[in-house]
Amino acid sequence: MGMYSEKVMDHFAHPRNVGEMPDANGVGEVGNAKCGDIMRMYLKIEDGRIVDVKFMTFGCGAAIATSSMATELIKGRTIEEALGLTNKAVVEALDGLPPVKVHCSVLAEQAVKAALSDYYRRQGVDPEPIVGKLTEDCHACEGGSCGV
């Protein structure tokens, strides 16, 4: 038994919706390479619905698995549904994460929100009242545990 659940390892070994998306209409990137995790989300939104999503992640196994799972949870959903995505839902869908890796799921939630914010900005709409304030950096760094 390793440190991760079978679901996490499955998403790590076979990440869903991975890659670039040149025609995305919402792109968000969160985290920083210094602390070891960066996630980028691409969204294609049509009529208020996420018709396609792709991600790129630099980070540990949990970072890759949480971003992969987050894309699955929002694909085909409405913007409102995607805004309701929590890191807790991502963790549960992956059958849990080790405590030191929970910050990765926070980052996945933030990546989705960053991409949605970008979508609104491109529409000429201020995203803050809708999406809320983004932390951009990962949770672990805010807590200082990354040691940077």
Binding site: G19, A63, C146
Partner: protein, 390 residues
Amino acid sequence: MDRIVYLDNAATTPVDPQVVQAMLPVLTGPGGNPSSHYSIGYEAKEQIDTARAQVAAALGCLPGEVYFTGGGSEADNWAIKGTARKLARQGKKHLITSAFEHHAVVHAMQALEKDGFEVTWLPVTADGFVRPEDVAAAIRPDTALVSVMLANNEIGTIQPIQEIAAICRENKVLCHTDAVQAVGAIPVNVKELGVDMLSLSGHKFNGPKGVGALYIRRGVLPDNLIDGGGQESRRRAGTENVAGIVGLGAAIELAVGHLEEKQAHLVALRDYVIGRVLANIPETRLNGDAKNRLPGNANISFAGLEGETILLDLDMRGICASTGSACNSDSLDPSHVLLAIGLPHEAAHGTMRFSFGPQNTMEDAEYLCSVLEEVIPLRRAMSPVWKPLA
């Protein structure tokens, strides 16, 4: 998984079957207490004495200068805390060490800092060496001890301990070296090195875990770390780990007995991997000097990737390696060793240590390279660092 390729011999090594054979009669025999006064007690005492002689022969010292401990960490803690406490009574409360020691040394030093000792943390060069002139410059009248490792556990670079020890001698300062990674990997002779104390650990040279030794030059008297009974000439209390000690003795004899062959074999594997990875995978770098490093150590950074990704990809293909250092795998922080040689955080995160042992073959090295050549491009293709936004 059909095939396991173990390339983490710097973390620990498999116990040599001959070592197991040496330990078995101790574990299955009558098992007397070495301090007891009847035949099976004497027998256990003799077994320990044999092991002590084996360690002494390997290190080039007297058997009476070898003290068994519960591993490398204990030996480091004893040398450092025992010396610091003893010399503090003479007003010496300054210690010198390097910025890239093992945590056993780093944390022992930090514990002393909390108790009012002052520690100088020497910088290391970009290719992974402590400069003897920095040691000389750091020594003060109140310096009690200099502790610099013989070989670094992450990047494998071999430190100029002979020169550092000579500087200490000239200045009448005690010198300790953590030789946990070096013993059994390169020739280690305490008299040639000129150190006052040297730590070693059984499980790094195909011996058992949880047993080590501290060489203490005759006449050097650090305070005890473990107080209690009169074992180890009243300097390290506790009923001896007889089987472990016997195993360590057998292992060190085997390790130094075939050292030249073993080194040549490991250097061949190491240099094959370094050469092929650096040639075939772009934006990779070797950490630590290419030549003056442990025969079995290859430490390589892969730009645009995070080490755990590589670790898991290798594990899924049966390869055991480590990101930076095994001791650190529960922490999100990049390795203090890699930061000390000046690697930026980003590069430090994408670093792997491959450490070879005598049981590894050229086939293992080739397999590692082909797996890396397969997985690194795949993971880079999904890395936002490797492919930044336009």
